[in-house]
């Protein structure tokens, strides 16, 4: 093999570069499991602590749901969502979702930071005022 030394160094540098995300996370801050909270006054006051849809559906699908909602409201002019249980909700991140989930830091950011996703919702939608 010609230039084997150079090739090996090259491969080394390449691996170092490719593996960057792994050791960057490993060396960085200790990983804390996200622990989203729903202990807001609005939710505490609810008789049955139930979101728009089931907890599992919300957990896995809230992003698509919000995406669909915004198209329905902004593009199709359909404002309201009749949920599985027959309840009607105003499809509004700011005025419906965040009304109950007024703890954005402990509810939204907790998982989003852990997953390193940065939704740009809050560039426009006003986040609820939080004490802390």
């Amino acid at each position: 093999m010609y230039d084997s030394g150079k090739i090996i160094i090259g491969i080394g540098i390449f691996l170092l570069f490719v593996a960057f995300p792994f050791y960057y996370t490993a060396i960085g801050k200790p990983v804390v499991k996200p622990d989203p909270r729903i202990d807001t006054p609005a939710i505490q006051a609810m008789e049955k602590k139930q979101c728009v849809e089931s907890k599992n559906a919300m957990k896995t699908l809230h992003m698509q749901m919000l995406n669909d909602w915004r198209d329905a409201v902004v593009r199709d002019g359909q404002r309201f969502y009749v949920a599985t249980d027959g309840k009607t909700y105003n499809m509004s991140l700011q005025n419906t979702c965040m009304h109950c989930h007024s703890n954005k830091k402990k509810f939204c950011d907790e998982c989003h930071n852990y997953m390193a996703v940065k939704p740009y919702c809050w560039d426009c939608h006003i986040e609820p005022k939080e004490g802390a």
Partner: protein, 271 residues
């Protein structure tokens, strides 16, 4: 990408099944979810085939104009940016000669020439901004409202070049520091997107009139231009009204009743 609701519900069912680990739960929830949830409109929603406005300048004075502008801008979190280069506005006064260029004459008195008119998006029936938008971020609704989808706008500003009425503003910077009091019920915008008047679609959806109409003391009338019995049609049929730049074929939905006198109450002019 948007998931179809059917698909959404299917996945929802599956995920629930995975969560509970039971097949019976799966079938039970699945059938329930599939049939039950849907998008609906408020029965109180105000509907029209083509929304339009008549702005009667003889009924609006300086104070009315200022109030309407303030109410609209506050309600929609429109920032007050002092540098005119970066300015954002949805509804604002312009003098007659600037609102209707080509209609003025050298012999017109200054009072008429400089009389302020309220200008805003014309919600054209044939909107050039919609024609040029490369992402359908601006589009025409079935009821004639020219809407903006701020989520989709890429900030190319083709619509600003296309609009013959200067109705569109671009967020040259983050608008938030320039909003004095935020209306927590309405979003702001982010830097890099275009915005304009949306005919208060969010109010119509819950059965309320546009904010400018509500705060105009009768100076602005809104209604369905396609309905011959609507109040707006009666005004257009009986009073002399003009539209901005009608020769361009954009078919504006905003009509003006020209006032032959200075605005009642005020002598302040806009340049």
């Amino acid at each position: 990408m948007a998931i179809k609701r059917r698909e959404f519900l299917k996945i929802a069912g599956l995920s629930v099944a995975a969560g509970l680990g039971g097949f019976s739960a799966f079938t039970g929830l699945r059938s329930g979810i599939l049939e039950a949830s849907q998008y609906v409109r408020d029965p109180k929603e105000l509907k029209a085939s083509r929304w339009g406005l008549v702005i009667d300048m003889s009924k609006l004075n300086q104070e009315d104009i200022r109030r309407i502008m303030d109410v609209c801008h506050k309600k929609h979190n429109v920032p007050a940016i002092p540098n005119p280069k970066d300015e954002i506005k949805w509804i604002w006064p312009e003098s007659f000669e600037h609102s209707f260029p080509g209609q003025e004459s050298p012999y017109m008195g200054d009072a008429i020439k400089h009389q302020p008119y309220l200008v805003l998006c014309n919600h054209c029936d044939n909107p050039p901004c919609v024609r040029v938008c490369p992402t359908k971020a601006t589009f025409k609704r079935a009821d004639g409202i020219v809407m903006m989808d701020m989520h989709r706008c890429i900030g190319c500003r083709f619509c600003m070049a296309a609009c013959p009425y200067g109705a569109r503003s671009f967020n040259w910077r983050d608008p938030r520091p320039f909003i004095k009091e935020m209306n927590p019920e309405f979003p702001t915008r982010m830097k890099g997107v275009v915005e304009k008047c949306t005919f208060c679609y969010e109010l119509l959806a819950v059965g309320k009139p546009p904010a400018c109409v509500e705060h105009s003391n009768g100076g602005i009338v809104f209604g369905d231009l396609k309905d011959p019995n609507s109040e707006i049609r009666k005004i257009i049929a009986t009073k002399f009204t003009i539209r901005r730049k009608p020769d361009l074929g954009t078919l504006p939905s905003v009509f003006y009743v020209v006032s032959d006198k200075e605005n009642k109450g005020g002598h302040e002019h806009v340049g």
